[in-house]
Assembly symmetry: C2
Homo-oligomer: 465 residues x 2
């Protein structure tokens, strides 16, 4: 309990906790990875607080695991080596809004919905929308994206600059307020997606965007997920000003209708959003209808009414919960591959066949505009054979995605679940990553056990031999 006393002396009493309930809250995320309790939880208010905690951890060789809101899907916030969980809920200030520069500066604990409520007053919005109301810090740490990446890119395309506390206690800035730079190596994009393994984020500067003048959203139903995929590829290469384009399979629509009491037609569906000025959107909606008809689109509705649009996107965003909440006794395994656009129809079709042939209950949906889709597989956590089948399916999907030139994770990150695919995906590039990890965290204290397996991290990278 020295650690508890010492951290309280560095911070204040109410910024440090070893309360059982608090420890439990920081032991898990929304994945099916098993929980591990941290030894202690701290709640910093400032960059200086983080520096004190990091310095203390470094001197005492204690692992540090940052915690946003616990909505991660690969166990990134689970402190698998125990140690200190740094919870950012009290670092949730929007520090600066610069409407003329289309830039905001926030603390890592700000959530995306909190940010958007504030930005709305300026006619601005922050587009990145993973299903959960995640924190900006958490989203930066996994390079999160969501339904709008097809238009705006992922977190890497939004983060201009970060303040980061390094393990040696130094505080750096990774970028600048300029919208582009050719000065030095790109350190910002190295930290974005590093899942807390290279440093602790203390401030994040983001690009924001003007709310589009006109938005039209629609649903297009097809005979098969393969036709959905093909129609999506055709739309995406047509030049239509797509804001979002999501594939939702029949099983997902059935669950959506149950959970939200909606009455969407229970068929493979594309949810589409077209944005721009009024005349441009009208023109693109007509063109979209023409294109979709060529792919046996059986029904098509477009609406500009903002309430109906909101319902449609809420149903889509909460799809994962629609599967999780009604089956509390079941676990959910989610896949997250991303492939080149042209491979999408094939991999989606293969996935549907595999789910059926394994007699699993599973749904397919995703960000078809990026070639990124998810499979949700329900399984009984007490049945080793069901878990094994679900994991085998994940491996089959990843293996197919890598063969197409894709990636094992489009937006959820590596965390615990995707470590086993890292060498296969990255080859000798993985040694560069491990070299950089050694450079910035020589004692492996920053979120240890994430991204790299212990075996990988303990073998010195071939560049340092």
């Amino acid at each position: 309990m020295d650690c508890y006393k010492e951290l309280k002396s560095l911070l204040t009493d109410d910024q440090v906790s070893i309360n059982e309930t608090i420890l439990r809250e920081h032991s898990f995320d929304e994945s099916s990875h098993p929980p591990v309790f941290p030894s202690i939880v701290v709640f910093p208010h400032t960059t200086l607080d983080i520096q004190k905690v990091v310095d203390y951890a470094n001197k005492n060789m204690l692992p540090i695991t940052p915690y946003g809101i616990g909505s991660g899907l690969e166990g990134q916030a689970i402190p698998i080596k125990q140690g200190i969980s740094i919870d950012f809920q009290q670092m949730n200030n929007i520090l600066e809004i610069r409407p003329e520069d289309l830039v905001v500066r926030v603390q890592p604990g700000v959530t995306r919905e909190q940010l958007n409520r504030t930005l709305k007053k300026h006619g601005l919005f922050f587009p990145i929308d993973p299903g959960a109301d995640a924190t900006i810090g958490g989203m930066a740490s996994t390079n999160a994206s969501g339904t709008t990446a097809v238009r705006y890119g992922a977190m890497r395309q939004q983060v201009l600059d970060m303040e980061v506390v390094l393990i040696n206690g130094k505080v750096i800035r990774t970028g600048s307020l300029a919208s582009k730079s050719s000065s030095g190596y790109n350190i910002t994009n190295l930290f974005v997606g590093s899942e807390g393994t290279l440093g602790v984020f203390s401030e994040i500067t983001l690009k924001v965007h003007g709310i589009p003048e006109t938005i039209s959203a629609g649903r297009a139903c097809f005979q098969s997920v393969k036709e959905c995929g093909e129609a999506a590829v055709a739309l995406l290469t047509s030049g239509v000003s797509i804001g979002r384009i999501e594939l939702v399979d029949e099983r997902s629509i059935i669950q959506m209708n149950k959970y939200h009491e909606t009455s969407f037609e229970e068929r493979p569906t594309l949810f589409i959003e077209i944005t721009g000025n009024a005349s441009g959107v009208q023109h693109d909606v007509s063109f979209t209808k023409e294109i979709l008809e060529e792919y046996n689109c059986s029904s098509l509705f477009f609406e500009s009414d903002s309430k109906k649009r909101a319902l449609l996107w809420r149903a889509r965003h909460e799809l994962s919960y629609a599967f999780r909440h009604p089956y509390p006794h079941l676990s959910v395994l989610g896949t997250d591959v991303c492939v080149p656009l042209s491979s999408l129809p094939r991999i989606v079709e293969m996935t549907r066949k595999e789910i059926d042939s394994l007699h699993l209950d599973g749904a397919i949906f995703g960000h078809v505009g990026d070639g990124n889709f998810h499979t949700l597989i329900l399984f009984d956590p007490n049945s080793p054979s069901e878990r094994e089948k679900a994991e085998r399916l994940n491996e089959t999907i990843v293996s197919f995605a890598l063969k197409c030139g894709g990636t094992c994770t489009g937006e959820h990150g590596v965390g615990l679940g995707k470590q086993k695919f890292q060498r296969l995906e990255h080859g000798d590039s993985l040694d560069i990553m491990i070299g950089i990890k050694h450079l910035l965290d020589p004692n492996n204290l920053l979120n240890p056990g994430k991204i790299f397996s212990d075996t990988e991290i303990e073998s010195l990278s071939s560049f340092q031999k």
Copy 2:
């Protein structure tokens, strides 16, 4: 001459040269940095050829400097430590075009115009357009951009994957064909902008884009560069679908008219391009006119005629040549800062005043949509006082840009000229960069003397002490 013989035995006779003319051709670029002859020039055809050269250089401790087409503006291709210049002109094959994936794979010696000629047949284009017909390898090495970055981003937003030959002879792939990924650290964006200091690029996979259905281009003249800047900020935050927006000052227009025999009104001007579908563009052009009138726009012309548009953009692209070619006895110093949008009017106004008060002949133009602008200063290379005044002006502009939260180089890169600003701009982040340089190039053989000064590189980074 052992080196000459040995490299010829590894490659073929005509892939290795010590011809005086060839050596001279590889001694300079388009900057005013003094030339240095390489010891030898090699012309690889394949990744294996590059591996052989890199392996030979590594064993014999010879510096390696990649050479694209020599259009760089900060001396990146000048082999200041001599050694081997690797010329990519014979690695200029477009290896694969995947229209459905909006992706191409090219060798580094392919030039952007060569690529666009081929893509046009597929209704596609590659947007990044530095003034010169640079190679894709060179553009990736400096994170080049140009007039379209406001819409499509810089090279970092286009490069999906690279094949890179490391100094240890290994060949890695940095990314994948997926449009986004959360797998591992982002190594691709570390290599993009690394100016040949971390590895030698052997293949580059790029995003490409559909040619917009409708393009309208216009010129808007103002009373002052400050009003140009303010009008640009207003347009950029209005939601208009801007394809390009360039500021060109009065002095630049005068030179443009002389060089191209055009008759553009000789006032501070915005060159604007609006793209989208026909109805959307028409709507946006009207809206643009309304906005610009609020900023005392004295004249405004829009045209959809493709020949007139081409002339306008050619005049803009060749502006740098319009100053260089008529004054062969004068040198040109170009600045390249990038600042947050709202700071642009102030810094442009300050720059104009400084040029005038130093009695220099100089022009201001640039990519106002990114907050990136250039100042071209003509000076007599034989007059130390003129050179000193030009360099002082550069320092004043960089210092102002950094104070606004900007960067010393928006698109030209660090090379030789921007090294002195690296510590000021990056602070302790520079130590991370130097650490990565050590990791990937422990003997400092990859384009030595670029980005980092010898003093910086020789002091081991604080992370490795």
